[in-house]
């Protein structure tokens, strides 16, 4: 904004702080819970102040030395699986959606709208409903217990294509004209003009898709029968006892926070890209 209105500034900060409190509060609770012992957590209401068990809980979570077994390997291994899955899904989805949205917006060809709606309809049937037949397809293709099986079926949905379509429609026609005049073909235009312009959308989508891939639970559970292909969320869920047995909430929360570090890093890195994208579009 152009002027500096101190009142408006103050108001902005106030609203943002309120927003942050509302949104980040549960996160704060997770942190607090990870610094106490389990008994302190279960005695309601749990105190809002951090406790003294921070180092203990986090080293237990990382080294897997909880009461009983659990070893270091599973945690590290699971983080690797989560990382690969998240990256493949994020990159894969963005790549194919950029291409599809480009085709739909910038070309005329028979059945164009049909394909748009066909892609769009993939948002309309939740995964859980079609999970049994999807599993069968993956199994028949021999993709069980593989990164391919973990990632490719999840690339199918339309969110990214829809977003890019929205964005491409806002790109001024003059740019296309200019490219044509320059003698550039469609792919040159795509590579040199459209993709750079879309950087903020791509960044936003990367964050969303990375986290989506990182937090996958039900699909990996079904598609892998070997525990060394389990992502980290399954490991966390596994510590939460569904029955009456003791759940070590403090360790669960500590592990959850550790598991949140890569997505958090992604978020922070992408912030930079937003700003960069902004600078570019100023040209």
């Amino acid at each position: 904004m152009v002027e500096r209105h101190p009142l408006l500034d103050a108001l902005s900060h106030l609203i943002l702080i309120l927003g942050v409190l509302m949104v980040a509060f549960p996160l704060y609770l997770t942190f607090v819970a990870s610094t106490h012992t389990t008994s302190e957590i279960v005695q309601a209401p749990m105190t809002l102040l951090p406790g003294d068990q921070l180092l203990e809980n986090y080293s237990t979570a990382w080294n897997g030395t909880r009461k009983g077994t659990g070893s270091k390997a599973p945690v590290a291994q699971m983080m690797v699986v989560s990382l690969v899955t998240a990256l493949v899904i994020a990159f894969g989805k963005i790549a194919i959606s950029l291409l599809s949205a480009f085709a739909i917006v910038y070309f005329r060809f028979p059945f164009r709208m049909f394909f748009f709606w066909a892609i769009f309809v993939t948002l309309m049937l939740p995964v859980e409903v079609r999970i049994l037949p999807t599993y069968k397809v993956v199994s028949d293709l021999g993709m069980l217990n593989s990164y391919a099986g973990l990632t490719i079926p999840l690339i199918a949905s339309a969110t990214a294509t829809f977003l890019f379509r929205q964005f491409f429609l806002t790109v001024p026609d003059e740019l296309v004209e200019a490219a044509r005049v320059d003698g550039a073909g469609p792919m040159r235009f795509f590579k040199d003009v459209l993709v750079p312009l879309s950087s903020t959308s791509i960044a936003a989508l990367f964050v969303i898709q990375f986290i989506y891939g990182w937090n996958q639970y039900l699909w990996p559970l079904l598609v892998t029968t070997e525990e060394n292909m389990y992502p980290v969320v399954i490991g966390i869920k596994r510590m939460i006892s569904g029955g009456d047995a003791q759940t070590e909430w403090n360790i669960v929360m500590a592990t959850a926070l550790l598991a949140m570090i890569p997505p958090a890093l992604v978020v922070m890195l992408m912030q930079r890209w937003f700003v960069k994208g902004l600078v570019d579009t100023e040209k």
């Binding site: 389990t38 008994s39 279960v42 005695q43 309601a44 009461k67 009983g68 077994t69 659990g70 999970i131 049994l132 599993y135 069968k136 199994s139 028949d140 069980l144 039900l218 559970l221 079904l222 029968t225 070997e226 525990e227 399954i234 869920k237 596994r238 510590m239 939460i240 006892s241 569904g242 029955g243 009456d244 047995a245 003791q246 759940t247 070590e248």
Partner: protein
């Protein structure tokens, strides 16, 4: 020459047995401590022999694991052993060609198998009318009564003997309320504790046909005068603030641990949690009953899960499974599992072994659940086997909630449960008739 031949024979034998290690996939839903018990059982069994290797895989909670198994079965790669919760028993039984009865496997692999060694109230839940054991009882719990001794003392109630009948519970609740206690009584797993186990405990029918054990045409009977009377009592207690509803399944347990609610009916499985986290003096007692009902107290109904053997595997693999189940039934193994997890022992021998070791004295209250079950069962108390039972449990929750918040009377709600439940039972019967 002889030595050479012997060496060759040895080498051949070694290579054959190295090749022959058969893997047996076991899908389970045990988390945290119980998950470690599963891994240890498999590891120890594998160490006793080299022909078979049990491979346990955590497959999510009971619902998720069941979904995974269904998906895998349809795609042709089901596990060998699947842990299924008790409410899924009817479904597993009715599905044709999906499972193989445990009794059959044990018999065919020549493993010594004596069904009478198993506690009737535990194994009976998973046994066919003709006596053949269908699935292997693995983790069974039952319904018991926990009470806060410190709260009792503060209200002037004697704590040497727990309230054993519902009138006594109501009296204790009134005393607690009179001294300002906000939540004298609450219940967890309300369908299981107040309807199912309640019925067995009083030796009355929960559903016809032996609660469904004898046929798929069973229909619910949970709106009988006794049931209506009990729910009405609870509803009145709710109105007076003596009973406070704290949620479905095991959610209310947190309010006992925190000291908020002084009495609670829930599973034996809650014991470990209470022992570790309750900061007050507490006790464990059998489920309360109505003393004027003939035959009460009979026995309570189990919860938990059992191990099913899936069809379509090789004969050799079934042999391995039979050996594993045999291993699990050894009294010392059973006793150790029972003591470590809090789940009921499935054989009488295991119970006696634990008793002899003084475990029950050192851990007062751990024998309450077992004592409720080590009895001869009747046709009405052996267990429950109804189709679509997951949905029926939810219906029970929904209807009872409307009683607690005053929207329905006890009779209306129970009638509704019967009507909606029977609809589901009819559909189950129809779907599985072909």
């Amino acid at each position: 020459m002889k030595i050479k031949f012997a060496m060759v024979a040895c080498a051949a034998a070694v290579s054959v047995s190295a090749f022959a290690q058969t893997e047996i996939q076991w899908w389970h839903s045990m988390t945290s401590v119980n998950g470690e018990v599963v891994n240890d059982l498999a590891k120890n069994f594998n160490a006793t022999q080299s022909a078979y290797k049990i491979v346990p895989t955590f497959k999510g909670n009971y619902t998720e694991s069941f979904t995974a198994a269904v998906a895998a079965f349809r795609a042709g790669n089901a596990p060998h052993i699947l842990q299924v919760f008790e409410v899924g028993t009817a479904t597993m039984m009715a599905s044709k060609g999906v499972t193989v009865p445990v009794g059959k496997i044990m018999k065919e692999s020549g493993v010594k198998f004596d069904p009478s060694a198993y506690v009737s109230a535990v194994a009976g839940y998973y046994t066919a009318p003709n006596g053949e054991m269908l699935s292997f009882p693995f983790n069974s719990s039952t319904t018991v009564f926990y009470f806060n001794k410190d709260a009792f003392k503060a209200a002037g109630i004697a704590t040497d003997k727990a309230p054993s009948t519902w009138p006594e519970v109501a009296l204790a609740a009134a005393k607690l309320k009179a001294t300002g206690h906000k939540c004298p009584l609450s219940i967890a797993w309300q369908g299981w504790t107040q309807l199912e186990s309640f019925s067995a405990w009083h030796n009355v029918e929960f559903a016809t046909k032996g609660n469904g054990m004898q046929g798929m045409d069973a229909r619910m009977k949970v709106n009988s005068p006794l049931h209506v009377r009990h729910i009405e009592n609870l509803a009145n207690m709710a109105k007076q603030g003596l009973f406070v509803y704290k949620g479905r399944s095991n959610v209310p347990e947190a309010s006992f641990i925190s000291g908020e609610c002084a009495m609670m009916t829930t599973s034996t499985g809650f014991y470990g949690n209470v022992k570790a986290n309750a900061k007050f003096d507490w006790g464990l007692a059998p489920l309360p009953y109505y003393p004027d009902v003939p035959g009460a107290p009979q026995n309570t109904v189990i919860g938990g899960a059992s191990l099913w053997v899936m069809a379509g595997k090789k004969a050799d693999e079934y042999k391995g499974i039979a050996q594993f189940f045999n291993y699990l039934s050894q009294p010392d193994i059973q006793a150790a599992t029972h003591q470590r997890t809090g789940y009921l022992p499935i054989t009488t021998a295991a119970f006696q072994l634990t008793e002899k070791s003084g475990f029950y004295q050192k851990n007062p209250g751990t024998d309450v659940g077992v004592n409720q079950m080590i009895r001869k069962t009747t046709d009405k108390s052996r267990g429950i086997r109804l189709g679509n039972y997951v949905q029926i449990r939810t219906i029970e929750d929904e209807e009872l909630e409307q009683v607690w918040n005053g929207k329905k009377t006890a009779k209306e709600a129970l009638d509704s449960i019967v009507q909606r439940g029977n609809d589901l039972l009819e559909r189950f019967e129809k779907a599985n008739k072909s």
